[in-house]
């Protein structure tokens, strides 16, 4: 079990969670961020890193991925700690008044304040409709590739036609013993350079490409050993393998947050716009995950919410003491305490 003690535990390492670290840092507060994705940035890193954003004040145009890089640089002086690739599954309040957050991989984060900056929720893999898929999860079926070494010298079948499926198929040709790529259609809509690279690897017989096809049955005992692939909606072939990796993108879900006793309206947490506090003292919600009259799901609004949130967080952490207000033009980024 890994235990972290911090001032503010931030659930979600998207732009609002990251910027909270900066504003908290100015007040001398330490933050620990937890995110179920293996990298910081939330949907900006995972879904649209190459899309330009035009409404960040003072920045006419910036790629989503670059905004995250800049935020990471901006918060670096405050040394935030991270637990990435883990999902917060439990939140409880202890006798000493601190919250305890528990992740699905037994990390524990203790703090006086919790800020939920969960964006659209947890990004969970979109799972294909195969009858006994769940039976083989972690026994041959993986939805996210965390450590490619796991597939060294193994027979791997990837299913999907997006960038993620293409990029991993390319990467795993250097690691796995055999790579098969199965796609529902004949054409790919991924990045053109990835598509042509896959096609070259198909010609070199490093990727076995099966199109107009879907995996429709998984076979094995304690571990997956074979799959059945339906081609052109008629012919069915069987294939032996070690790992089946369906990569159909991620779908946002509120997940365990919905069970924490917070007031929820249409998949969003209701907050008081005074400081973006929830109905549970010490728990705040900022960014896309909250709702209030007039809410706009914009990064710039989330930055504002983060800024006001840490003021109240300071009062909770310092038992009623008000933070003194200073401009960074006066104090720099050393903070005010």
């Amino acid at each position: 079990m890994k235990i972290f003690n911090t001032d503010i535990a931030i659930v979600g390492a998207g732009p609002c969670g990251l910027f909270s670290v900066f504003e908290a840092g100015l007040l001398g507060l330490k933050c620990h961020l937890i995110d179920s994705l293996p990298v910081a940035g939330g949907q900006l890193s995972e879904i649209y890193p190459k899309k330009p954003i035009y409404d960040i004040p003072g920045i006419p145009e910036i790629l989503a991925g670059d905004l995250i890089k800049n935020l990471m640089l901006q918060i670096a002086p405050f040394n935030p700690s991270f637990t990435l690739g883990e999902t917060v599954i439990g939140l409880s309040k202890k006798e000493d008044g601190k919250f305890e957050l528990e992740t699905n991989q037994n990390s524990v984060i203790r703090s006086k304040v919790v800020a939920i900056a969960g964006g659209l929720g947890n990004f969970e893999p979109r799972k294909p409709q195969i009858e006994n898929l769940i039976q083989y999860e972690n026994c041959g079926v993986d939805y996210i590739i965390k450590d490619p070494e796991k597939y060294r010298n193994k027979k791997v079948v990837i299913s999907g036609g997006g960038d993620s499926a293409l990029d991993w198929a390319i990467y795993l040709t250097e690691v796995a013993n055999q790579v098969t790529l199965i796609h529902r259609r004949t054409g790919f809509r991924g990045a053109p350079e990835s598509v042509s690279k896959v096609m070259r690897l198909v010609q070199q017989k490093k990727i076995d490409l099966i199109t107009n096809a879907e995996v429709n049955k998984l076979i094995g005992n304690s571990h997956l050993t074979n799959i059945e692939i339906k081609i052109d909606n008629s012919e069915t072939i069987s294939k032996s393998l070690d790992f089946f990796i369906p990569l159909f993108g991620l779908v946002p879900k509120l997940g365990p947050i919905a069970t924490w006793g917070l007031n929820i309206d249409k998949q969003a947490i209701e907050v008081n716009t005074l400081d973006y506090s929830t109905n549970s003292k010490g728990i705040f919600a900022i960014g896309d995950i909250n709702t209030y009259p007039g809410k706009l799901k914009l990064i710039l609004c989330g930055f504002h919410e983060a800024t006001l949130m840490v003021q109240s967080a300071y009062r909770i952490i310092h038992e009623g003491k008000d933070p003194s207000f200073k401009y960074t033009t006066v104090t720099g980024i050393k903070g005010i305490n």
Partner: protein
């Protein structure tokens, strides 16, 4: 002159709702489903990112072509048919009078 248009939406319980809305309402089909409380969809806010608003177009209306983002999302979704679209990408206008759609199963 703008007038009302009729849209027929069949929900996941197979119940058909007939809606009459001004053609200049300025909404997309996802927003219409949400505001009329037929179905809660569009977790991502309507930018073709979550795929929660997949519908099947059951009338012969000529719709605007799918953007690359919409096509990529449809590539990843389950229960996709040849008449699948994302409701968030269909802006209501007077050409859509009589449109019939069915909401696809939950992902």
């Amino acid at each position: 002159m703008d007038s009302d248009i009729q849209i027929s939406i069949t929900d996941r319980n197979d119940k058909t709702h007939m809606l009459e809305v001004p053609s200049d309402i300025g909404m997309n089909l996802m927003e219409l489903c949400n505001s009329s409380e037929i179905s809660k969809m569009g977790i991502c806010g309507g930018i073709a990112l979550c795929g929660s608003c997949q519908v099947y177009i059951e009338s012969d209306h000529e719709l605007t072509d799918c953007s690359n983002d919409e096509l990529s999302m449809l590539d990843n979704l389950m229960y996709v048919k040849s008449n699948s679209r994302l409701a968030c990408q269909i802006k209501l206008n007077n050409k859509l009078n009589g449109l019939k759609v069915r909401i696809a199963p939950d992902q």
